[in-house]
């Protein structure tokens, strides 16, 4: 499939052969199946090689993850520090659209928008937010959209709560001053925040009959991949510090979004824009929704 999309693909049947190849060659992207079916340590050798100082050190990595469950996800965020992974489904397949889109985004640097994850002609709607008190209406709109899109009632609730977290992050955590200092992070989430006309947060929803997508775009670009990984690692570790006690938010928003969606994507243009996207399959059963292994991506671009 990647070849038919115009990519030049070099396959390694055995992961342990990859480190030698990586020392001699360059590629735009390494795709690694993290679960070696033979139980070998090949995938770990590859990720180690990609972290060593050398030509492969800056190469983006996309991991394919079969195993689900908190412990595995914790290991990915805490130990392997991967910012891009896609779930391999029970039928041993990666969602072909998500794979093609993910590879294209990494290779091209063109990363923004929910349209690329949806089929042509998808129903889409958008609302702009400049006041934290608009959040309740925004969340209700997302819930209604999910129900009308055919989501199971409990899945629609999950979509709505993901929207709640996305909007809260965009209004309270994203805004920074000219020096990059957070403006509202310290505020209790009951304290109203009003953004200026040039600081509109945009909430988008899309549905193509197969998937529902929600996205929130802020015009600040203040989120960093390291911060995302740190927060997710902290929350999955489930320590005493899992819930923040500092002023401001609970530090659980990204963790909640990760758990309430099936594919969580963060697009960052530093100092200019951040887009957080949640994708879900439209399922008739809550079990189907929860059983799917989660996918996660953080993309950073210097371009538009």
């Amino acid at each position: 499939m990647l070849r038919s999309a115009g990519h030049d693909v070099v396959e390694m049947a055995r992961a342990q052969d990859a480190p030698a190849w990586l020392r001699m060659n360059r590629a735009n992207l390494a795709i690694i199946d993290l679960e070696d079916p033979t139980g070998g340590t090949g995938p770990q050798l590859v990720t180690r090689e990609l972290r060593r100082p050398g030509p492969a050190n800056t190469m983006p990595v996309l991991a394919l993850v079969r195993a689900r469950g908190e412990q595995r996800v914790r290991q990915i965020f805490e130990g392997e520090r991967l910012a891009n992974f896609l779930a391999v489904n029970e039928d041993d397949q990666v969602d072909p659209v998500e794979l093609a889109v993910t590879v294209a985004k990494i290779v091209s640097g063109d990363i923004f928008g929910i349209e690329r994850y949806l089929a042509p002609g998808a129903r889409q709607t958008q609302m702009n937010i400049t006041d934290s008190r608009q959040k309740a209406d925004a969340v209700e709109s997302v819930h209604t959209f999910a129900v009308e899109s055919g989501c199971h009632a409990r899945v629609a609730e999950s979509v709505a709560m993901a929207a709640d977290e996305l909007v809260t992050n965009a209004i309270y955590n994203a805004p920074v001053d000219a020096q990059g200092k957070p403006r509202f992070t310290h505020l209790a989430r009951t304290v109203p925040v009003i953004l200026s006309a040039g600081e509109v947060v945009s909430l988008r929803m899309g549905h193509d009959g197969r998937k529902v997508a929600i996205s929130v775009v802020d015009p600040f670009g203040s989120l960093s991949p390291t911060k995302v990984q740190d927060y997710l690692a902290k929350c999955f570790a489930k320590g005493e510090d899992q819930v923040d006690s500092k002023d401001g938010g609970a530090g659980l928003g990204l963790f909640q979004i990760f758990n309430m969606t099936q594919h969580f994507i963060i697009n960052i243009a530093p100092h200019r824009m951040t887009e957080a996207i949640g994708l879900l399959d439209v399922t008739r059963s809550y079990k189907q929704f929860t059983s799917k292994a989660r996918s996660f991506n953080v993309f950073v671009t210097q371009g538009g």
């Binding site: 009632a153 409990r154 977290e165 809260t168 819930v243 609970a250 659980l252 059963s285 929860t290």
Partner: protein, 148 residues
């Protein structure tokens, strides 16, 4: 989130959304002895609501015993995700969603877990078509906070 106190303070009905607006301080001042919190009316929980709840559970006096009844699915999910969510409270009953594989009708069944152990599910037939129903959750994950 609203609360209604009944039975001389031994039963509290909690209703509404668990969010940043949820203030448990007035309820906290009235807790004494053994109290059952009925959570059937609790809807939607966001991350700020999680912290309000965690702080509420943390601040419950040591001489107060808290039982949780009719825990909704969203609440059970948070128990499994947040290590300090339960505090010293004990889940007595919880809802288990179930689905009819024949007509896709869905319902929630209250299950007794007061033993602290994972229950053996005996789900009722579909109220619409009479077919056997199935738990609409991954049981290993949904009951993860219970032993056995």
């Amino acid at each position: 989130m609203d609360h209604e106190i009944k039975n001389d303070g031994t039963l509290v009905l909690l209703k509404g959304r668990l969010t940043e607006e949820s203030d448990f301080a007035p309820l906290l001042r009235q807790l004494k002895g053994t109290v059952t919190l009925n959570l059937a009316g609790m809807m939607r929980i966001n991350s700020s609501g999680v912290r309000q709840w965690v702080n509420f559970m943390r601040d419950v006096p040591a001489d107060v015993t808290v039982w949780l009844d009719k825990c909704p699915v969203a609440f059970v999910n948070q128990i499994n995700m947040i290590s300090t969510f339960l505090g010293h409270a004990v889940v007595r009953t919880m809802f288990v969603p179930c689905l009819c594989p024949k007509c896709e009708s869905s319902q929630e069944v209250e299950v007794d877990v007061s033993s602290g152990k994972r229950p053996t599910l005996a789900l009722p037939p579909c109220p619409d078509c009479g077919a056997p129903t199935e738990a609409d959750v991954l049981e290993d994950e949904y009951f993860a906070f219970l032993s056995g």
